[in-house]
């Protein structure tokens, strides 16, 4: 899935953040058996709260914190900055990581079988398909995130970032994907070693208008192209 997709919305070209979800399903022989494209409608309250936490940072403060709803449903404290002036080294972190490694289903692109309607307060997929090879599980692959830069051919121009993750069905039965989510990780520490924040939190969820059935030994590749309108 190396195609560069245009991210635009003719109904609201100036929407500041937008995106598309592309899904391609292949059978065990590598043949494409289903593919589709869906407009994202799904950024949630956690996304806004995380942005506000970052913007509220000063740039040289011990900690600036905010609150999101973690994927367990409980309020969780995230950081927008972490500083240490003396005595402690290794201070730092990241506020909204999506680059999950293979085998990790706690952040990055997640898939599920739920069909419950989206609302802004949601903090998890309705029914996440967990990583694994047992019945009802999919093997989560390595994320790849590509900075596509500004697509100036669009009007207005859009800065595009593409996140791709493959999912393999190593079970004996087909598995149906109905929902796709983006879960971020807020992680901050020093070399104390002391973990100051380690929170995974859903920032987007979309219920797909089409179900995707991943056959045994088949795979699904999900690509989310996020656009930031820049002009």
């Amino acid at each position: 899935m190396s195609q560069i997709y245009e991210v635009e919305d003719p109904q609201d070209p100036y929407e500041p953040f937008k995106g598309w979800i592309d899904i391609e399903v292949r059978d065990g022989e590598g043949r494409v058996v289903q593919k589709g494209r869906h407009r994202m409608h799904s950024f949630n309250n956690n996304f806004l709260a995380a942005l506000l936490t970052m913007l509220s940072s000063v740039g040289n403060k011990y900690m600036t914190s905010g609150t999101v709803t973690g994927d367990s449903g409980s309020a969780a404290t995230i950081l927008g900055e972490y500083w240490y002036y003396s005595g402690i080294t290794g201070a730092g972190g990241t506020p909204m990581a999506l680059n999950a490694p293979a085998g990790t289903d706690s952040f990055g692109i997640l898939v599920g079988s739920g069909i419950g309607a989206f609302n802004l307060t949601q903090y998890s997929l309705a029914s996440k398909i967990p990583h694994g090879t047992a019945a009802g599980q999919l093997s989560y692959g390595t994320s790849s995130i590509t900075d596509l830069g500004v697509n100036a051919s669009l009007s207005p121009p859009v800065y595009q970032i593409q996140i791709v993750r493959p999912f393999s069905n190593l079970t004996a039965s087909a598995i149906t994907i109905n929902e796709v989510g983006l879960e971020a990780k807020n992680f901050w520490r020093d070399s104390g070693p002391a973990i100051k924040a380690n929170v995974t939190y859903l920032i987007a969820r979309d219920v797909l208008s089409t179900s995707y059935s991943v056959p045994p030994n088949g795979s699904a590749t999900v690509a989310i192209t996020i656009g930031v309108t820049v002009g």
Binding site: D12, G59, Y84, T89, A91, M96, V150, F187, V228, G231
Partner: protein, 200 residues
């Protein structure tokens, strides 16, 4: 999602428009954050043009090695009197482009001729199941003795990726040229609010 700019002059709303203002630097920093793996190791960097017009590096995941150290990827909450980051205002009217790295002509903090006093920032938020918003505001007071005309507003972010006290980058993430200039009379106040809204 929608972005809005709301401007109040002496407490009265004089401008409300859809924000069409983000520049490519915002895409770069978000991309770097997304590319992070939260592994505890410093991640990739990207080159941006800082507000002085020079190339600089920014990160989405960073850990210092020498005290003092720390990381703030996209700080905007500048204190009173600081005009190097936060919400800023200017008198330039050059049309916005995605490659902008500074206001066309920023009005500096101060009480001298052509200057305006930069206030503190405030934030607001409301989170519901069908509609939500976040907002960040800054008030500017004209103590220069003469009227000042504001034609552009913007947001400058500050990234401190610091090890041993080194690493402080100011980079523009938004700039809007106003459809109509706003005149701030002597002793007048101007409040600029950026808002992001979500609805289902």
């Amino acid at each position: 999602m929608k972005g809005w700019i709301i401007i109040e002059l002496d407490g009265k709303e004089v401008y409300r428009g859809e924000s069409r203002s983000f520049v490519q630097n915002l895409g770069k920093i978000l991309s770097l954050m997304f590319q992070s793996s939260a592994s505890g190791s410093t991640g990739a960097s990207a080159t941006i043009t800082n507000t002085s017009g020079y190339s600089d590096s920014i990160y989405g995941e960073y850990y210092g090695g020498n005290s003092p150290d720390g990381f703030a990827p996209m700080a905007v909450n500048a204190p009173v009197g600081t005009d190097s980051y936060g919400i800023v205002v200017g008198s330039g009217s050059t049309p916005q482009t995605y490659s902008d790295y500074a206001l066309a002509k920023q009005i500096k903090n101060g009480t001298g001729a052509g200057q305006i006093s930069y206030g503190d920032h405030t934030t607001a938020s409301s989170y519901g199941s069908t509609s939500s918003y976040i907002a960040i505001s800054r008030t500017f007071t004209n103590q220069s003795g003469s009227a000042i005309v504001v034609r552009e507003v913007g947001i400058i972010a500050r990234q401190t990726a610091v090890s041993g006290g080194i690493g402080d980058v100011k980079y523009l993430i938004a700039r809007d040229v106003l459809a109509n200039p706003i005149t701030v009379n002597n002793l007048g106040t101007l409040t600029v609010t950026y808002t992001l809204t979500l609805s289902t």
